[in-house]
């Protein structure tokens, strides 16, 4: 095969994305209270997790000041879907049903044997010791025995 000249071009660009007032409040609660909040849309009553500023089904703003629309969700749930191959860090990207939420939380499962993973598996959040206000303040969700 003919060899063609290639150039290696790289970018190393730092970005700092504003997460906005609603997600800021969500992450502060994650960091300071170890609580996962969802938000409820006034119109369709759907509870979405993580918290949203906007219900895209109803095209309705969810005011982040209105505490009534903020729903504290349990830190446990059940496994609905997962990637069969683990990430570089050994976790499996997963979709998790938290009780009281109408959608699934995208996070990761881990700290367990891959063969254990099955639909409906009970999971609980494993928290990072020093929280920083990001989604990875929850290291992962790990299987737990539940009555």
């Amino acid at each position: 095969m003919k060899k063609y000249q290639q150039l290696r071009a790289s970018v190393h660009l730092p970005f700092s994305f504003a997460v906005g007032a609603t997600a800021s409040r969500f992450y502060r609660a994650l960091r300071d209270e170890k609580t996962i909040y969802g938000t409820r849309c006034d119109n369709c009553q759907r509870v979405s997790v993580p918290a949203r500023s906007f219900c895209s089904h109803c095209c309705k703003t969810i005011d982040h000041h209105q505490t009534g629309q903020w729903i504290a969700l349990p830190e446990y749930g059940t496994l609905i879907g997962w990637c069969e191959t683990p990430n570089k860090d050994g976790f499996f990207t997963a979709l998790i049903q938290l009780e009281g939420a109408d959608n699934l939380l995208l996070h990761r499962v881990g700290q367990c044997d891959a063969v254990l993973l099955h639909k409906g598996l009970h999971l609980r959040a494993a928290w990072k010791a020093s929280a920083a206000g990001t989604i990875t303040d929850i290291v992962c969700f790990k299987p737990e025995r539940r009555a």
């Binding site: 504003a18 906005g20 095209c59």
Partner: protein, 386 residues
């Protein structure tokens, strides 16, 4: 095939600022869309299709429409993203206008945004041809200055004349609540005393980098009836050109893309003397000197007379042909939204909703878009139904 008449009936803009830490990109988009819907007295359900526009690498996103469309009400709707560099906003507006004119959609939303504060635009800009340009990248300012040196040598415009453009822009911007940079007390001396960036361009000759979003609502068919002062779309033209800066003979002097696009639009809408027949222009001037060069390319004055035109005051609010009464790009520049803002400001003038910078008797408005690769868009709107 005869074109179906379409008009812009609503516009919305965020307050353009240096940084907006209180909203993420999608929420900023939503702010502008909400204002546009309010302006057009429409609800989210009325929108049939959406065109988004911004620059992916400035934003640090890949296909940002996938995320941000939802905040424009795009879930379950036809959504496309247009991105053509600096002309993104005007190209997006043209795309939305043509989509409405196709008759497939009655109401099209166009929204552009940019959050410069989140990344590094100068570095993002230098991600050009890795085999050639990237090693010699000196940012946009250096390249502008090179072209300006040719323009100055050819036409003999002075630093004072360029500074007058900057003064006009910042004073107009002071009247516009959405403008990012505003300075009612600015003087030619202050512009000339600001730090030299790249000869002959001073800091105050340049546009800022802003966070902001802007939205337009385009309607066609029966939907236009309920509006009192729609901004009717009369025609547009687009020209792209060869990619390397050195491909163009004296590119700012010649500006063949803008010249040719303007001529096509003037021919389409039957304009013989642009200076007399246009009431207001919102043009894309990234640097003060560019506005002077664009005057010539757009036929607002004879070649070589741009300096005299700015000195005459004719392009100020209250003059014969006010150019950028909103303050223009020199006051607000969220790149992906900048072209949308030009169109929105022209439409607001025809809607008679421009507030403190309303131009009396504005009935015919010209818009131009510009990309660093000398790409040009020209659009024309009028208060008369075509």
């Amino acid at each position: 095939m005869k074109a179906r008449p379409v008009a812009i009936v609503g516009t919305g803009q965020t307050r353009h600022r240096k940084a907006r830490p209180d909203v993420h990109q999608g929420e900023m988009v939503q702010e502008a869309v909400n204002l546009a819907l309010l302006d057009a007295d429409l609800s989210w359900d009325d929108i049939d299709a959406i065109v988004l526009t911004n620059m992916e690498l400035f934003e640090g996103r890949a296909l940002p429409d996938l995320w941000c469309s939802e905040f424009a009400g795009g879930l379950g709707k036809p959504v496309m993203k247009v991105a053509t560099g600096g002309t993104s906003g005007t190209s997006g507006a043209i795309a939305g206008l043509l989509q409405a004119a196709s008759g497939l959609f009655d109401t099209v939303l166009v929204v552009g945004w940019e959050k410069h504060s989140e990344g590094s635009t100068q570095t993002g800009m230098s991600l050009t041809d890795p085999a050639w340009d990237r090693h010699i990248a000196a940012g946009a300012i250096g390249n502008f200055a090179l072209s300006i040196s040719q323009y100055v040598a050819e036409r003999g415009v002075t630093g004072e004349q360029a500074a007058m453009v900057a003064v006009k822009a910042r004073r107009n911007g002071a009247l516009n609540p959405n403008a990012h940079v505003k300075d009612a007390g600015i003087t030619v001396e202050k512009v000339l005393a600001s730090p030299m960036l790249a000869e002959p361009v001073h800091l105050l000759d340049m546009c800022p980098q802003s966070d902001g979003a802007a939205a337009l609502i385009v309607v066609g068919g029966d939907k236009t009836r309920r509006y009192k002062n729609p901004a009717w779309f009369r025609g547009s033209a687009t020209r792209h050109d060869q990619p390397y800066i050195g491909d163009h003979d004296k590119r700012m002097v010649m500006m063949r893309t803008l010249r040719s696009a303007a001529q096509e639009v003037y021919r389409k809408v039957g304009i013989g003397d642009p200076f007399k027949e246009i009431d207001i222009a919102e043009i894309y001037e990234p640097v003060s000197y560019a506005e002077l060069a664009w005057y010539e390319a757009l036929g607002f004055c004879a070649e070589g007379d741009a300096g005299k035109l700015i000195e005459s005051g004719a392009t100020q609010i209250g003059g014969d042909l006010p150019v950028n009464p909103s303050g223009g790009v020199l006051c607000s520049n969220p790149v992906g939204a900048t072209g949308v803002i030009r169109v929105a400001e022209a439409a607001r003038q025809l809607h008679l909703k421009a507030g403190d910078y309303q131009v009396d008797g504005a009935r015919r408005a010209l818009v131009s878009g510009y990309g660093v690769y000398t790409w040009s868009d020209v659009l024309f709107f009028s208060a008369e139904r075509p």
